[in-house]
């Protein structure tokens, strides 16, 4: 530790820290443009200048100057102020004064700091430089004349996103940041460039000229478009969600967010179900809530519990799934399922279906095996964590599945389950790599579970984890990577067929007479029996609604107070940002109201009462946000025969990252991304 005095405040910081970090520790704010704590140090904006005593009498760039014991730093001396004013004047020489038409206005570092260090007028009379805008694809808008060449975007693309496509070409006044060869950035994390750009050079293309930051209501939410449970801030104005930004959570998403989660917002306004619909004479007609309820109740009347079933979709919140489950229990049905993809599960223990190492735990692992998973498309933020770990060095990554570019070096072992068997009996060389590791990790994707031999794959992967020493009292290296935000919550609630219940495939083809879909769109709805009466409760007119006999308009994830459990098993709560459109209501309220209509009133009138019931059903719901790291003592495996592996090659679960759910399918931005990156996707699929 080094003792540093900053403006008279003595702080102790670890050796190797830089002066800027010491100043932060002392509570002094240092202006900066190029420095970013998650990126390498560039030291090129010169805004963070400070004065250091007993050093050469000049200002020092604090971000690039290491601390020394006994150092005395001044952050607000006349020399510092003068130097920073000088730097600001130089930065503003070529920066246009177009704040009134700049989307960064109001949340711009340069604007904010110009208030502190900018001059009242310009001494520069020559022409300002103009730079041609670049085309970085459908998500990031560029106004390169505003660029102050901090190189944060270059470093982000190279270091965090792992797509070294941005660079600074030419030099001096001709220097430009761009891709040189014009092309869209091939990253699922490109939206983060907008956040890290300290000026308005990189802004959001879909959000261009939509709103000013001070007009927005900011609500803390949880992303529901993949199973990472990224913490988000939902910015809304009136009844509209205008944008979604990441919120800091070191354990989950750090400060990043995937492009689908960020840019699908325009899908929240399109294809919405905002009224009840009832099918009469083969056509859907608008109806009132009471008419819709009557239609369902009429159909339910006289039906045996075994002839009705319910399916929970991938975006469902835990509250509505519990209400649906209890409603169906009251109606005498055990036909429940949440696995639209048919993934094999063993819910006898929670660690058979969660990402036990935890996302932050990836950084402690020292070897990784991916089975039937492409984390770049299934969970880009987890992929970024894996990349972060690979960057730290000595992290062999092997993968069973079709080869793909994951942004870090991967040893592709083949795509057949026989590779897994060879790893198990130790005949494959990668088995030695895993065995030599102290904290190996195995990640099982949904593509490896959603197949006829899924249970065997699950058991074999668990067995392999045991063999290579991934199941230790202080280390749990067995992980299931989910793709659906609702899945772990549904499994925690046992939203699964009861002892005599039917799984989803058995409910199709006339297996039940009434099928209740809670936002379930991800299975082939044409396989539903012709005489099955379908109730679709959800927010988007997608596959499920098209087949429905009654549509009950529900709320999207931004429109309800919901509990989501991410793939790690972390329970998080999302807050209501805007109200559901039209007649739509929060989903648990719809189920509560309907239960009363059929005389099976659910025993909760408030969300608090429902949440109390959640905790009663499964105590994990009482532990919000916190997820302690855990090891494993009982290594008994899940049911399933590890030797029963089939021969079909593994195929990752997500084919098109940009369109995986009704919201992203309704989003024009995501459609544009799909079109732009189709070639890349096609290549990856081969």
């Amino acid at each position: 530790m080094a003792k540093v005095t900053v403006d008279g405040i003595v702080v102790e910081v670890p050796n190797g820290s830089n002066v800027l970090q010491a100043c932060e520790a002392a509570g002094k704010e240092i202006p900066r443009f190029c420095y970013h704590e998650r990126l390498s140090v560039a030291g090129n904006c010169r805004m963070c200048l400070v004065e250091i005593e007993k050093a050469p009498p000049k200002p020092f760039a604090s971000c690039a100057y290491p601390v020394a014991d006994g150092m005395v730093v001044h952050t607000d001396s006349p020399m510092v102020r003068k130097a920073r004013r000088g730097v600001m004047e130089f930065l503003l020489i070529n920066h246009p004064l177009d704040c009134p038409i700049c989307d960064q206005g109001g949340e711009c570092d340069l604007q904010d700091q110009a208030v502190g260090y900018g001059g009242d007028s310009s001494r520069y009379t020559e022409n300002k430089r103009a730079v041609k805008d670049k085309n970085l694809g459908p998500l990031v808008k560029t106004v390169m004349t505003r660029c102050i060449q901090c190189t944060r975007c270059i470093r982000f693309a190279t270091e965090i996103a792992g797509v070294p496509e941005l660079g600074a070409t030419a030099r001096g006044e001709s220097m430009e940041v761009g891709t040189y060869v014009e092309k869209a950035l091939t990253s699922e994390l490109s939206g983060n460039l907008i956040d890290i750009c300290p000026v308005g050079a990189l802004t959001s293309k879909p959000y261009a000229f939509v709103a000013r930051p001070w007009e927005l209501k900011k609500t803390d939410g949880i992303d529901a478009l993949d199973a990472v449970g990224a913490n988000i801030r939902i910015d809304s104005r009136g009844p509209e969600v205008l944008r979604i930004l990441p919120r800091l959570n070191e354990d989950v998403n750090e400060e990043w967010l995937g492009d689908k989660s960020r840019f699908s917002v325009d899908g929240l306004k399109r294809r919405r179900l905002d009224a009840c619909w009832v099918r009469r004479d083969g056509k859907l007609h608008k109806a009132t809530w009471l008419e819709a309820f009557d239609a369902i109740a009429g159909k339910l009347h006289g039906l045996d519990g075994s002839r009705i079933g319910a399916v929970a979709g991938n975006l469902a919140d835990a509250e509505s799934m519990l209400a649906l489950k209890e409603l169906f229990s009251a109606l005498g049905s055990e036909n429940l399922d949440c696995r639209q993809d048919g993934a094999a599960t063993d819910v006898s223990r929670r660690d058979f279906y969660t990402f036990n190492t935890s996302i932050a735990g990836i950084e402690d692992a020292d070897a990784l095996l991916l089975i039937g998973s492409n984390p770049r498309h299934e969970a880009p933020l987890i992929n970024a964590r894996i990349r972060k770990r690979t960057q730290a060095g000595k992290f062999p990554v092997g993968a069973i599945g079709p080869a793909a570019e994951l942004t870090y070096p991967v040893e592709w072992l083949g795509d057949a389950p026989s590779v897994l068997a060879a790893l198990l009996d130790g005949s494959h060389p990668f088995a030695k790599v895993l065995a030599a590791a102290k904290k190996p990790m195995i990640v099982l994707g949904q593509g490896a579970l959603a197949r006829p031999d899924g249970l065997s794959v699950l058991a074999a992967a668990w067995k392999l984890a045991g063999v290579v020493g991934a199941l230790l009292p202080d280390w749990h290296g067995f992980n299931v990577l989910h793709t659906a935000a609702a899945r772990v919550g549904a499994l925690d609630l046992h939203f699964l067929p009861g002892p005599n219940g039917k799984p989803l495939p058995a409910m199709l083809g006339g297996g039940v007479d009434l099928l209740w879909l809670l936002g379930a769109d991800e299975f082939d709805t044409t396989k539903i029996g012709a005489n099955t009466f379908v109730v679709y409760q959800g927010h988007h007119g997608d596959a499920g609604a098209a087949r429905a006999d009654v549509i009950l308009p529900g709320a999207a994830y931004t429109e309800k107070n919901g509990t989501y459990v991410n793939t790690e098993g972390r329970v998080q709560r999302s807050l209501l940002a805007v109200y559901p459109p039209g007649e739509a209501r929060e989903d648990w309220k719809i189920l509560r109201a309907f239960s009363e209509r059929v005389g099976k009133t659910l025993p909760y009138d408030t969300i608090e009462a429902l949440r109390a019931r959640l905790e009663q059903v499964n105590p994990v719901f009482a532990r919000i946000d916190i997820l302690p790291r855990f090891g494993i003592s009982d290594t008994t495996g899940p049911s399933g025969d590890p030797a029963g592996l089939g021969a079909a090659p593994f195929v990752p679960a997500v084919r098109n990252y940009y369109q995986t759910d009704p919201i992203s399918r309704a989003s024009p931005t995501m459609a544009e991304c799909t079109a732009t990156y189709r070639t890349a996707l096609a290549v990856a699929a081969e």
Binding site: P164, E165, G167, A168, T169, A170, R171, E173, Y180, V181
Partner: protein, 212 residues
């Protein structure tokens, strides 16, 4: 000069580039100078190899984008890292140049010694109107460069790899006419002085005799 370093969207780039036998013979010696994990350090020498090969094969010393991609692949670098280097240094031409690349130094010492005259003579002899242009016959491209490190013999006109020193308007016209006839005069001082020795002969140690 900015033109010479624009990304060349208006330019038809060759779609293909491969090192020829002569270049391939040079490369191992270059790569051997750098440790295995630091092969990226060879980017500048390799870009020179490209430029020389282009001169041999097309009579135009430049680095096409396809060649930068080949260099990137050879050195295990991201292509953008090579683009950055190639566009940063004025020694690499990212668009085609004439057979003779006239690189005129106009930095202070050359300017004080009459580089403006040399520039004017180049324009007159080649018909080029401004820096970055190529003459109508495709023989000459004139670019402005920063100090080439030969200030004692200012002003300097660098033609491809060779320095022609102590230039003035008349010598420039003469040189360009010779180049046009595909005669390459011997590089060095054009007024006959020995390397950087004083103009007009020695000025010191005149009475010294060699030690016995």
């Amino acid at each position: 000069m900015a033109d010479a370093h624009a990304d060349g969207d208006d330019l038809t780039q060759p779609t293909h580039f491969a090192f020829d036998a002569q270049s391939e013979a040079e490369i191992p010696g270059i790569l051997a100078k750098y440790p295995p994990a630091r092969q990226a350090s060879a980017v500048i020498p390799l870009l020179y190899v490209v430029q020389k090969q282009m001169q041999r094969t097309t009579a135009s010393r430049w680095v096409p984008r396809a060649a930068m991609d080949v260099v990137a692949a050879r050195l295990g670098m991201a292509p953008i890292r090579v683009y950055e280097v190639a566009t940063f240094y004025f020694m690499f031409n990212t668009r085609p140049v004439g057979k003779f690349h006239l690189q005129l130094c106009t930095t202070t010492p050359c300017w004080l010694r009459g580089s403006d005259e040399v520039v004017a003579a180049c324009k007159k002899a080649t018909g080029i109107t401004q820096f970055g242009e190529t003459s109508a016959d495709g023989m000459f491209t004139m670019t402005e460069v920063e100090c080439v490190g030969a200030c004692v013999n200012a002003p300097i006109l660098q033609v491809n790899d060779d320095f022609y020193e102590d230039m003035d308007a008349a010598l420039t016209l003469e040189l360009i006419e010779a180049l046009r006839r595909s005669e390459i005069p011997a590089p060095g001082s054009m007024i006959g002085r020995q390397t950087s020795a004083p103009v007009g002969g020695p000025t010191t140690l005149l009475d010294s005799t060699p030690a016995e």
